[in-house]
């Protein structure tokens, strides 16, 4: 057999995809969304707390944040999910019953928070000290200055990296599988993998990938659009066809220089 044909059939077999599609749409997609969205919200809030604690002047906030981040970022996600899912299972059983989602979401959020915390910290620390001075000179407390002036600027600077983490979270949501899932609890990737294991054909897995793309690409572009809107400056007046341009912060972005070939390509 022609190896290219085999490859094609392995990954792009339409019949397998069609077969998996209904399950993916009615079961996998909602479940992935439930897991990812809840964990994204919780993880971002926790991440912000970690970031602020991580740059606090109080050692008793800085150190715990550091240790938390090191551990939850360093351990394999599967191990963390197992530790929390199995370790807290007796407790979870009492509160939520045998559904693994609550503990799974908790574990995913705790992991995401460690990553998102570092991203937000990077953004916040990159804001010039003069901004904090400006805010504090008006009479804002450190917390208010952070909340109203520093954090909004810092977070905007790292939005693309934050999107990274949301996308990773969408995909990590497949790891709740380690906690045991009913057929109706499977998310996109798991359904794809079930088909792959049962048929030996990877097309359903690729279909799961396409679903991921359908979630992540609009997310990326929505955030990029917001990012561009928030970015101050001439953008509003620029030919929309050339959106972005060299969109550095601030307004006086240099115009394209068609006359100078040496400046057209980065190197």
């Amino acid at each position: 057999m022609d190896p290219l044909r085999t490859l094609w059939e392995t990954f792009f077999d339409w019949d397998s995809m069609r077969e998996a599609l209904p399950d993916m749409l009615t079961v996998g997609l909602p479940n992935t969304l439930i897991l990812a969205v809840s964990a994204a919200l919780l993880g971002s809030v926790l991440g912000m707390l970690l970031a602020v604690a991580g740059i606090s002047r109080t050692r008793w906030l800085r150190w715990p944040a550091r240790v938390y981040t090191d551990i939850f970022r360093g351990l394999p996600a599967a191990a963390t999910i197992l530790l929390i899912g199995v370790g807290l299972a007796p407790f979870g059983l009492q509160v939520w019953g045998p559904n693994p989602y609550p503990l799974g979401i908790l574990a995913l959020s705790l992991i995401a928070a460690a990553y998102i915390g570092e991203i937000f910290r990077a953004g916040i620390q990159s804001v010039e000290a003069a901004q904090l001075e400006g805010a504090r000179a008006l009479g804002f407390s450190w917390g208010e200055a952070m909340r109203l002036v520093i954090v909004p600027q810092g977070v905007r600077r790292v939005l693309p990296a934050w999107v990274n983490q949301l996308i990773a979270l969408i995909k990590d949501s497949s790891l709740v599988y380690f906690l045991g899932l009913l057929a109706s609890q499977r998310e996109l990737f798991r359904i794809g993998q079930d088909y792959a294991a049962n048929t030996g054909n990877q097309s359903a897995l690729l279909l799961a990938g396409l679903f991921y793309l359908a979630l992540t690409v609009p997310l990326t572009h929505a955030v990029n659009a917001i990012d561009r809107r928030l970015r101050q400056g001439r953008a509003a007046t620029v030919d929309p066809d050339d959106d972005g341009g060299l969109a550095l912060a601030g307004s006086t972005a240099l115009p394209p220089e068609t006359a100078a070939p040496s400046t057209k390509e980065p190197r």
Binding site: A135, A137, G139, S141, E144, Q232
Partner: protein, 247 residues
């Protein structure tokens, strides 16, 4: 500036010391400003003028010495409350680049003075009008010229009606017309009882606005007094040399 400030306070800086590492920037600086008075601080670049202003509202804590408002040390109080009484315009303006000009001015009005949205906007627009920037309320700082940014910074600080104002080179980016305008605003403020410390390198400006002129060099105030005295009859040789360079 139609509304007078509630109270009028005197300001005194007493033997303030501050070092950045090994670099002793303030080495016993003293300054006295009467209630509702205006002190101009002049002196060579790097002599510690900006640093002195920062210690007054405790953006930097002095290593030693004291700052008194109406005779009461500010070092024991809550610095946030202090800074609501002591406004500041920075040499580099320190505007918030992610907010419009209007929001730069209303932010503290709403969050600290607890004004409503509309009320804050009205106060802010009046203040912007006063510095000739009513038309730029919806621009971002990066879309403004240097002088426009400086005026936004002035408006932002004045909108809060502080008892003491610290201006760091408040007219450095302003043309003569605007300097005249700011001068007028400041005269009104002084008349209304606001106490002011103005760092400037424009001697003409200092002569016009100051009740007291203080000459700083290498972290100490070498000479202070009435403008006429300081400018016409400087005593310290360093000050004489400095003034001899004025164009």
């Amino acid at each position: 500036m139609s509304t007078a400030t509630a109270t009028s306070v005197s300001l005194a800086v007493r033997d303030v010391h501050l070092a950045f590492g090994a670099n002793k920037v303030l080495r016993g600086a003293d300054l006295d400003v009467a209630r509702g008075g205006t002190a101009c601080v002049i002196g060579p670049s790097g002599s510690g003028k900006s640093t002195l202003l920062r210690t007054i509202n405790r953006l930097i804590e002095p290593d030693a010495g004291d700052v008194l408002l109406d005779g009461r040390s500010v070092l024991r109080d809550d610095p946030d409350a202090l800074r609501q009484r002591v406004g500041m315009v920075f040499q580099q303006f320190n505007l918030f680049p992610h907010m419009t000009v209007l929001r730069n001015v209303t932010l503290a009005l709403r969050r600290l003075k607890k004004l409503g949205e509309d009320e804050a906007a009205q106060v802010a627009r009046e203040q912007l009008e006063l510095v000739g920037l009513a038309g730029k309320a919806d621009s971002r700082p990066a879309q403004l010229s240097g002088g426009q940014q400086q005026r936004v910074a002035i408006a932002r600080a004045l909108a809060l009606r502080p008892e003491v104002m610290l201006f760091d080179e408040a007219t450095s980016a302003l043309d003569p017309e605007l300097v005249k305008g700011v001068l007028g605003v400041m005269a009104d403020l002084a008349a209304a009882g606001m106490t002011m410390v103005v760092v400037t390198h424009e001697m003409g400006f200092a002569r016009k606005v100051a009740d007291t002129v203080a000459f700083m060099d290498r972290g100490v105030v070498l000479e202070a007094g009435e403008p006429a005295a300081v400018f016409e009859r400087p005593e310290h040789p360093r000050l004489r040399q400095f003034l001899s360079q004025v164009l």
